[in-house]
């Protein structure tokens, strides 16, 4: 069914259009759910390239594709550096377009912080997750589930830092 959506949109709008990119993202999500990360990444890359062309390289609407690409890459050990670059770019786009207090920026920071934690770079993890936590506290209040989502890994990073300092 999602293939059909892509077909219709290509016929109606031509090969490059925002809705065509959305269709590629839909299909990528499906491949990801089917545990086919390589195919999913290809589709996100296509969508990203198309949106970059249509919206320009500074649009915050590129951030979701960057986050999705990074989320796939971060699970593949030799692609984690690429994942980091995607997250960093998403952060730059959202910070510039939406300002330093945006919940979307917090999502990007949280993602990057988790990658730092995963790759055992605890100082960076604590700094980045701390920033995400601060934005989310301000925006949603202390008891929001998103605050808890950042708080857990933030504490893990702090604990790891203390342990390595004690050694």
């Amino acid at each position: 069914m999602l293939d059909r959506v892509l077909d219709i949109r290509r016929k109606a709008y031509g090969p490059e259009h925002r809705d065509v990119a959305t269709s590629l993202e839909d299909l990528a999500g499906l491949k990801r759910a089917e545990n086919k990360p390589r195919e999913a990444a290809q589709l996100y890359e296509q969508s990203l390239a198309m949106l970059e062309k249509i919206l320009g390289p500074d649009s915050p609407d590129l951030a979701p594709d960057l986050n999705n690409l990074a989320a796939i890459d971060e699970l593949i050990p030799d692609k984690q550096q690429e994942a980091e670059q995607f997250f960093v770019r998403a952060i730059a786009l959202d910070e510039k377009a939406l300002g330093p207090d945006s919940p979307d920026l917090a999502t990007d920071l949280n993602n990057l912080g988790l990658l730092y934690l995963l790759t055992k770079r605890y100082q960076r993890a604590a700094d980045t997750l701390g920033r995400a936590l601060e934005i989310r506290r301000k925006a949603f209040g202390d008891s929001d589930p998103l605050v808890k989502e950042s708080l857990g890994p933030y504490n893990t990073a702090l604990r790891a830092l203390r342990q390595s300092a004690a050694k």
Partner: protein, 248 residues
């Protein structure tokens, strides 16, 4: 009660004596409406631009100028030429307020149009008060003059985008019922079904959402054909909710 002036043809009946210019103006207006309905926006735009220049030569207080401004604004909006559309919505609002006072179906249409424009831009905070004003006005007008369903649908979509799902659901359900009672199968019914489906999905009722999308796909496929982008939107929603339901 004032006669609605939605079409030039009506004006032709109500304002005799301007036969030539009225006829030319009305012809172009009707041709533009037909072009716009068929999705030929560029053609509609050209016709209405000519009519706009033409209507500027009419005496002041002639209701045809704001009519053309409003029709042209709708076309510009559909084409994504938002600043051109905005200027005309605002001008039409000023003229209609002077002509008919603070309440008229035309003024409601102009507010609703500007609200829809901000909705399309994703600026829901700006869309909300405009659509609320239009709806309040249309609720007070005789039902045949007011496109209540459109106002309720648009405002419902905006509340939904702002996360106010309870208010959104009431309005969208009303809009759907009104539209179904006029024509059980139409693009407008399909649009309201999709909007309602989104509210169900956001409020964890994915089964009801799936039903809405399924009905919308079937209606839009029948009315618009299965090559139409609006049909594609419906089956996109349907497919995604099915995937999500399988996952959770």
């Amino acid at each position: 009660m004032r006669v609605a002036t939605h079409l030039g043809a009506l004006l032709l009946l109500t304002v005799p004596g301007f036969a030539d210019s009225v006829e030319d103006w009305a012809k172009a207006e009707n041709a533009a409406a037909a072009a716009s309905k068929a999705g030929r926006f560029h053609q509609a735009e050209q016709l209405l631009q000519q009519n706009e220049s033409f209507a500027r030569t009419f005496p002041p207080k002639d209701a045809r100028l704001p009519r053309t401004l409003l029709d042209l604004a709708h076309v510009y909006r559909a084409e994504g030429k938002y600043s051109e559309a905005l200027a005309r919505y605002e001008r039409a609002q000023r003229i209609y307020s002077e002509l008919y006072g603070a309440q008229s179906s035309e003024l409601a249409e102009a507010f609703n149009g500007e609200g829809e424009l901000y909705k399309n831009l994703g600026d829901y905070e700006k869309a909300q008060p405009l659509l609320e004003k239009a709806l309040a006005m249309r609720e007070k007008l005789p039902p045949e003059e007011a496109n209540l369903a459109q106002s309720k649908n648009d405002l419902g979509e905006v509340y939904s985008a702002l996360g106010q799902y309870h208010k959104a659901e009431t309005l969208l359900q009303d809009a759907l019922n009104l539209r179904k009672s006029r024509a059980p199968e139409s693009t407008e019914v399909g649009q309201s079904l999709i909007a309602l489906g989104i509210v169900y999905e956001k409020t964890s009722r994915s089964g009801q959402a799936e039903d809405c999308y399924r009905q919308a796909a079937s209606i839009l496929g029948k009315v618009l054909g299965d090559d139409h982008p609006d049909y594609a939107n419906a089956i996109e929603h349907l497919a995604l909710v099915c995937v999500a339901r399988k996952d959770f």
